[in-house]
Point group: C2
Chain length 134, copies 2
């Protein structure tokens, strides 16, 4: 028997989605941000691993399905407004990003001497994406 009131307590947006942040339990790094619908979040808790809703493909997206880069759920939190979830995860393979990097957040703003800003990739590619997705 499932008690779904914990899902009802959350504020889902007009598309029935909630933002989800994945933070690596070991390194503390924020490695990914994606979206979940009710089904994805229920699956995440039931299976103990991150399951997202792919907005581009309009379907359930079990993270790591193809790459093997599964995110094992360690703990799950929601914020004061109950409209954003934060997962503490164990990142299998140490790679969250489809570019082969540990984290998706690898562009950092830099400022040049004349005050111009630009985004620079500051994290190394750990594995060639061609080897990840075959």
């Amino acid at each position: 028997m499932n008690n779904r009131s914990w899902l009802d307590e959350l504020k889902w947006d007009a598309q029935g989605l909630i933002p989800a942040i994945a933070q690596d339990e070991a390194s503390g790094k924020v490695v990914m941000f994606a979206w979940m619908n009710r089904e994805a979040l229920a699956m995440t808790v039931k299976l103990g691993r991150a399951v997202y809703w792919s907005r581009s493909r309009s379907k359930i997206w079990p993270k790591g399905e193809e790459s093997g880069h599964v995110q094992k759920l360690k703990s799950l939190r929601v914020d004061c407004d109950k409209d954003v979830v934060l997962m503490s995860i164990e990142q299998v393979g140490g790679i969250a990003c489809h570019t082969g990097r540990e984290s998706c957040f690898y562009f950092e703003i830099t400022t040049s001497a004349d005050g111009c800003h630009c985004w620079q990739a500051v994290e190394p590619v750990l594995k060639d994406p061609k080897e990840i997705y075959q």
Copy 2:
């Protein structure tokens, strides 16, 4: 002279917004999630402190304006899709949440013996909100 191409590189949603995650530089905790429009993000970088867009009030929201709980920007990143920003911040006062807690992410999912889930507040209130907002 401002070079705004770094803003143009980002993917703004249909409302002209981008999600923003604030992570405490010292503790590594994710303390807050909110939204920014172009102006808010430009101000964040220019002023060196988090400025959000309040969706509920439809206006620029300089974090800490009333509470004093300013978030000093330490570094700014964007993800692989360039549609989410991640700030590393110094949380002035050690309180990010309007409830008086260090982090907004203070509800954790717990599972009872019969498999039911519920959200439980697991972080202490450090300061009475009545003292923060007078």
